[in-house]
Point group: D2
Chain length 436, copies 4
């Protein structure tokens, strides 16, 4: 975890203290259920809660014990007995450390996903506001980086809005995938622990029951989870790349906020760089890097091995914390980035009217020119414009093939931006509903 | 695509002929809608269907044209006009090649996913049958590759069944992700094509309408799709690895079918190797290898670039065809693999009764021995068994700490397999419902 | 393997016929060595060569046999005996199929790498020619996509030249990694085959001897190999991305060749898109996708398992064929792409002289202005230029802080392109040597 | 970075304090060179060293400044001026922050690689010692997890030794790839900094000069670096997987050290699990996860963008620290793991002599039995052994085809372990030289 890309709220989920608190809760809720079933004394369960509920667990002490036992959960339980007293011996009855670890991981990932969902909501809100603001701000649409035809800047943002709505659904589904509880004991047979204990802990921790856990919660769930995060990160990369492109010196249709006191370069005082979105591009790569190891974690040996553990100690906090940071940073950029309609207009005209080439071609085909001939005529005139020899409309008017089919007035009518924005409303309604 | 790992049904989806047929259908359905809207003559649309419906498209001829135009869809349309005649000029009006390519890709991926869903159903059916067959076949459960406690072989398979049910849901969701249609014209503005054309084509091709396509269908959908395939492949790897482990010479609790005439090794005539599941392990790696490039495809520049195209020409067929093959191969293995209950019983006894160690420890704690002391006593006796000095029960009876708390008869009662299988029914009901 | 991205020379290396020819050669050379050692009759070895040297192996027949044996090398040997006659029984004595398969794979990868090295040479030659041609063609250098300071276009290309020299070294090293021969028999002990046989086959096939093969050639070699290809592909991506950027409509400092008859878009006749370099970007992703599975292939079980096989049937041909294609395509683009010095000059001036900001700042610090004050003064004037209020030099002259330290003439002298190109020669000598 | 998998020596390389110290040295060495060239006063360079050489840099203060400037190197330089005084204005003349950052990263990666090389040396030493110790300890060789033929345990370890020798060469090459220095100023033109400054700093920091840096050191170098680490990690995974297999309950030919006080499971006191090598398996996945993002970092835009930065803040420390930890842990395991020759002997006999099947087949072919018939005869008898019906030698003696060709005595001679170990010496000499 890179601390400069971590919000405290997100990092806190993965602190030792949070982890031990969740471990305690799982064990104590399990004790309640066991007491209810008569497996352990009710008084024991009560004492455990009483003494442990607000305890501050001593990480150093736990680490010290672990250096001997080489087992983290046993070390924790030993420390709990130091604080809770002899009743602690009723904890963990029939349970195995995976019951605690995996259920805790589910709780942590669930909480982390709630933050991610909040982050996506911020991105969505910002996208919507700016999309509506620029619903009819005309700019050029580009394919292959080359001017294609006019669109509106709002339309561009609406597309991203739709993509982040999908991101939201993917995160919700990802949370659903991993929010399960396993208290099934060694190799998952419930030999020494009643299935009703699992149900109780699941209810208390806000999780579903894992139908079959083989001591561990199956890792296909986690693979699906981190894959979903990777897809969301890739969507962030797309939007970040868009802004980086728009801020290029020659384009400059949009620009990240540049604050007073900020310096763009140690060497060149004139620089204003899209560093936030470049950073998001890098963070996307980092979040994506968890996907493959999470998939490699699936094929654990038999009922479980522990090779997944070190991987998850890394990717669990790293991916969620960095994605949380990235979503917030992205929301901030979208909320505040400068949009330059004048430059959009200037750029739109840069190709001397070529962005209307399709409409001219189609108009020709409606005048009984074959598609091939229409294409050739339009392409021929377009190439003159590419060579910088003049403007498109002038060439068309002077072209015998074209002018035979279309009058000057008809040609001029084809160079009409309104033609290209007439369905913006239809698309906005698809994305934002009737409110748009 | 590796032809030895391709079923003809799956490969056919990706043939040139299938592709051209789908392209034609998209164009012809669009023509119908345009005719209905009065954009092109009704007669043209009819003629197009009449002449093109059963046409066999000439790939060589199309390739020949493409060598000049360097554009595949234009080459196809030119060829269509050679077959359909002059009415072909009414095709593709206001559309762009992405409309055709992306919608076709959605159709192909949808059909491929239907095969994958069939494959998963076969795996599920085989798993269920074998799970019920061996519901109470006791074997050892292993964690870390080390004997842990008894389970049943049916329980093992039930866990995989649950995992492949999730695989099925993931594939269904993956299909939902990519089954969209875009006929929105250049840069997605519907400037030259009516949105109702898109709706019509979507209906006819069995797809949903893409809310905002920026000329292309957004690639976050495909990233999610290939990620889902990667997760399913990882589940295959887990089951394949399980069988490879079980077939190890020292374990031999299960074995892949070995057919008459089959040879395990060119050098060693005695060999019987788990080559099918080893092959599945490798195929899983291949299918997974599509996940990252699919994610790298998301951040296309502006309204689209074409960098995704070569990637998808690879991973589209390869991932779906190989996963289809893998699922069928896996179903065949599960259906037919040999299960050796006698060896399971022999292995289970291998540790001289150590697999009951937890129950002994818990019994001690119920006789007022502290958890730490109980653990130490049991561990101490277990280590003697590890050293090959005798059987666990004998050591326990002879141990003063243990025998003080538990009589010989009580100890003997603890070595009971039924204790470990008592909740198998509960778990089976979770997985298979009441029928189990 | 995607056939549209495959050159016949590269694809031929991976044909069945080539494979069977190499298999035969390995077996026949081994037979020679065994005959020399007196293990088999000399006449047998001679007959084998005589009848097999120019044989055309019947793939269909081999496949037919494999359907029974489920073992490809046994199927091949059976077919060889059909052609060579009874002497074929002296083939493969003490060998195992991996001896044949792995050594053949080494030969195929070696040959494929030779093509890759040729491809890199073409790229290098093209880069060098264009770099020298534009050694002093001034253009703007960009960091973060934002204008920074002047460079020359030749310098840009020289950097890529240096990178592809490294690519060449990496490929040479990659070939060295995988060009080893193993003829060590079952589990690699040479129990049934003399180590001198291995040495002979290695010499004949142009390979080194693998010091320890555990029946298979260790797969860390192949992991290193495919990783090297992934790095080379990433370098291709960088150069392709550069050209895509330079061709953007607003930049247009360079442009891919656009041939007569070529069509950029089915819808928009004016389009000229950088489709070759976009394609290279996608191919880079494909080639890179082999890296992780090749690494996952390393941890084979014990002396070998066969999970790597299906992976290598895919990535072996795919990665080498597509990378070969990509290198040739790249060389063609570099050889022929249009470079527009006029647009470079125009763009360079776009920021009104801001590209000289550092030099002004440094000049101020040499006149006893502190670095912080100099930065602030230059940045302040630069921001006015960003806001489109005028040209940089004019603002500087009018600034009291600046003008107190530097006269107008001194300031004007700072706006000198020659200052920025004075070390181009030094760098060219580093890259191209004295000839540059 | 996961602190439980970090040695202090490795983590220290990546501390803020180390980073600032290196930054200072780069700047101060550059100042020396500039003073020598007369660009800045000699006294300034001397004062800078005097006041800064032993300074403790205040991270909090630097962070505080960065919150305003949003630029880490400027923040550092501002802090330096607070400590060094006005002479600090002569620092960083004509340099850009990438000169400092990239050169520092090269120094850090070089130092980290030195630790990795030390770690590999420890692994090699342990492997060699144990290999020589068990040079002739016979055990079964396995392919596909199935018994194949006898090998020796020393041979197994010798193979790993050869692999880690390759790992060492790869790390040495990886260090060579990234150990370069760039002090070339904005966009790499040396406009404001003399190339001799770069040479001086390179010499002082133990680096080579980067021939062409485009402001940044080209990232193909880093991609190659992290790929090399990924390959080494994969070799670790292979050896770790071997030990995990050998420790399986049914195999138990080797076992990780299990220390007094250690507990294998919170639930099952009898457990002794291969947790160290399972952990290494997971760490290998983590280290490998850096490979793809490092490759995605290559295609920076134009002369540089900063998307690589966040990625490298993660993978730089994480990969090197975790790989360092893994190598040390692995060396410890190899040094101390238990090897059980008795179990090896027991397992070797498990298949009732089938491991000699090849030799019998070959002997038959030397008695004029065709390869196909010999194979069939041997396979037929082997299958009886598989079915548990008796021992291989007995069946062979009773087989009419076999006994016609080979006498009982001849057959018995074929069951000879010495036959399989006769070339161990040859292989050891290849690996360890004459000393073996």
């Amino acid at each position: 975890m890179i601390s400069r890309y971590a919000r405290p709220e997100a990092a806190a989920i993965w602190s030792s203290q949070t982890k031990y608190k969740i471990w305690f809760e799982i064990e104590a809720h399990a004790a309640d259920a066991m007491a209810e079933l008569g497996v352990i004394p009710k008084l024991a369960a009560e004492t455990i809660w009483e003494k442990g509920r607000d305890a501050v667990w001593d990480s150093d002490r736990i680490d010290e014990i672990e250096r001997v036992t080489k087992h983290d959960v046993i070390a924790f339980l030993t420390h709990v007995s130091e604080i809770v007293g002899p009743e602690a011996r009723f904890l963990h009855q029939g349970m195995t450390s995976s019951d605690v670890l995996d259920t805790c991981f589910a709780v942590q990932l669930s909480r982390a996903t709630d933050l991610l969902l909040d982050g996506v909501d911020l991105v969505l809100a910002a996208l919507k506001r700016r999309a509506l603001e620029h619903k009819f701000t005309v700019c050029v649409g580009r394919s292959h980086g080359i001017h294609a035809e006019p669109i509106t800047f709002g339309l561009k943002l609406a597309g991203y809005y739709a993509e982040f709505q999908r991101a939201k659904e993917r995160l919700a589904m990802a949370k659903f995938e991993i929010a399960t509880c396993a208290i099934s004991g060694a190799v998952g047979t419930f030999a020494n622990v009643d299935p009703r204990v699992e149900q109780h802990v699941a209810d208390k921790m806000g999780l579903a029951v894992e139908p079959v856990s083989t001591q561990v919660i199956p890792r296909d769930r986690h693979a699906a989870y981190f894959a979903a995060l990777g897809v969301v990160a890739s969507s962030i990369e797309r939007l970040a790349t868009e802004i980086r492109h728009l801020q290029r010196t020659e384009v400059l249709e949009a620009e990240e906020p540049f604050d007073p006191g900020q310096k763009g370069s140690s060497a060149m005082p004139h620089k204003r760089n899209p560093i936030l979105t470049e950073n998001l591009t890098g963070l996307a790569r980092l979040v994506r890097s968890a996907v493959v190891p999470a998939m490699e974690n699936v094929a654990l040996w038999h009922e479980r091995d522990i090779s997944h553990s070190s991987v998850e100690r890394g990717i669990g906090p790293d991916s969620t914390i960095h994605l949380d940071f990235a979503l917030r940073r992205l929301a901030g950029v979208i909320e505040r980035f400068n949009i330059y309609p004048d430059n959009m207009a200037k750029n739109l005209d840069k190709l001397g009217g070529l962005v209307f080439s399709q409409r001219v071609m189609l108009a020709l085909t409606h005048k009984d020119v074959s598609r091939e001939d229409a294409y050739a005529a339009v392409q021929g005139n377009a190439m003159k414009v590419w060579r910088g020899e003049g403007r498109f409309l002038d060439f068309l008017k002077a072209d015998p093939v074209v002018s035979k089919a279309l009058t000057d007035a008809e040609l001029e009518d084809l160079f009409d931006l309104g033609y290209h924005t007439k369905n913006v409303d239809v698309i906005f309604k698809r994305v934002f509903g009737e409110q748009a």
